[in-house]
Amino acid sequence: MLNAIFEPGFFSSSPVHVALAAGGVVALVSGIVGSFAVVRGQSYAGHALADISVTGGSASFLVGVSPLWGFVGVGVLAAGVMDMIGIQRPRGRDLATGIVRGAGLGLAALFLYWDTTHSNVTGATITILFGSLFTVSSSILPAIVALSVAAVAIVAVLYRPLLLSTVAADLAAARGVSVRLVGLACLVAIALAVSLSAMTIGTILSTALLIGPAAIGLRLSSRPGLAMAWSALAGLAATWLGVLLAYDSFYWPPARHGWPVSFFVVTLIFLGYVAVQGITSRVRRA
């Protein structure tokens, strides 16, 4: 019976252990930080930062440092640039985000081109864009954990001013909160979370972990703390179930080399969101 759910070897395989650990940490952080991204209407910024960290990932292949530092460094840098050119103003914010993203991806195209022509990195494009939890090396686990703690610490330390400046910016400013500085710190936390998930479930799909669980959490509770807890839980559940399904899918048709983890994680998050949305809107109507 258990063998039908957990294919043999699931609990003893070390890539699975690393995938569960790295994916779990990233899902928790994205769920917590993502709640603020969604409430503050910065879904697009989160998505753009994930894409822009590709630039760092592709540059790191070129100069030969660990992709982790490329992803994280460029992600945080881009957060600073976005803040500088006016992301804090709601008007024109998406536009500024889009421009930064376009320029960043243009650079990524150039770096990837150099990666594939000058150095002999085959498949760099795919690795960087889609990633795979099963290829995370256990040596970067400590760095992932440390950066995750940093992202959560930013949000935890700034919890009250962040919440206040999110729901009532004028009131926060009147109470002496530097709305701009808090916004920048929040964006940096988002950049950290997003570049970490870009490393693990792939740059493009990291948006899913940032936005999906947070949207589910905010549907389930209107109390911020509780919504964040739901969000982290939903992200964790989707990631671990996704890893399990991907492991089980190894002998599934048609390819017989396993379906991608990212596909399962994203699909689970989406189904969860649609289900929660359907249930809560029915409950509210009743």
Partner: protein, 289 residues
């Protein structure tokens, strides 16, 4: 640079630029940068699916783009629009990842779909792209007044009997159309640079809609031509130049507006934030419709 095989590239790129400039004008006006970003990226899944099934890439891309656009419209009516956009995007990309894992496609082809391969346009691709370009511009022309009105003055538009949800859906379909024709040329990840940079620059030069629309198309054409020429000379990817020149346009527009003592995003324009024009677009007193 102007030899036989390059003619197709110049021709197709010009079509793409005109459509991107025209459609992009409304994207910037409506503050839908995220949608302009998500639909092409999601449409990439269609290309992967098409190569798996062995059908024409254009059909796969168009199907995925439509699915994405309608998905955004459907989900967005029930929740936050930026969340809806993000979810529709990631679901399509998840499918794309699945298709890619099934197929035996090599990395260079995927790279081309993501970042563009304008020099590789073949003669039999020109006609379908031309037809789609004409269709997109015609659709915008037909929708022009309701679209403009519901973008800048949603309340007035509603009072005149324009249904914002319907205009929104139709506009998303046009975005999907424009996307599917541009994807093979400038690449999924950079179409939207072309849809955002030139219109943003045009908008900071003039606030009258028709001249801004025309200027936006002209700037887009110039950007694409300059990008192809630069890519031809340096052998670097076209996508890099489109992204860089798009950002330059935006910077120039901001600089121009700054010199003339006004901001591109003046209070008269609707909020270009995460919320749709229907949610809290500010009525524009100084926009001539």
């Amino acid at each position: 640079m102007f030899s036989g095989f390059m003619t197709n590239a110049w021709l197709v790129a010009t079509f793409v630029a005109i459509v991107a400039g025209v459609v992009g004008f409304f994207i910037v006006l409506r503050g839908q940068a995220f949608v302009a970003d998500a639909v092409p990226q999601g449409a990439f899944a269609g290309a992967a699916g098409a190569s798996l099934l062995g059908i024409n890439t254009l059909i796969g891309v168009a199907a995925a783009a439509l699915l994405g656009a309608l998905g955004i419209g459907w989900l967005g009516r029930r929740g936050r629009r930026d969340v809806a956009t993000a979810l529709a995007l990631v679901v399509l990309l998840g499918l794309g990842a699945l298709f890619l894992s099934f197929s035996t496609e090599y990395a260079p082809e995927i790279y081309a779909l993501l970042f563009g391969e304008v020099l590789g346009v073949s003669a039999n691709e020109v006609l379908p792209i031309a037809i789609l370009a004409v269709a997109s511009v015609a659709a915008i022309a037909a929708l022009y007044r309701p679209l403009l009105l519901s973008s800048v003055m949603p309340e007035l538009a509603e009072a005149r009997g324009i249904r914002p949800a319907r205009v929104e859906t139709l506009f998303l379909v046009v975005v999907a159309l424009a996307t599917s024709m541009s994807l093979p040329v400038v690449g999924a990840l950079l179409i939207f640079s072309l849809m955002i940079g030139p219109p943003a620059a045009a908008r900071s030069v003039t606030s009258r809609p028709l001249p801004a629309l025309a200027l936006s198309a002209v700037i887009a054409v110039v950007v694409v031509w300059a990008s192809i020429a630069a890519a031809y000379q340096t052998n670097w990817p076209v996508g890099f130049f489109v992204g860089a020149f798009g950002a330059l346009c935006y910077a120039a527009g901001r600089g121009w507006a700054g010199l003339r003592g006004r901001r591109p995003a003046r209070p008269g324009w609707p909020a270009a934030g995460a919320h749709g024009p229907g949610e809290h677009g500010v009525p524009a007193a100084n926009v001539r419709v």
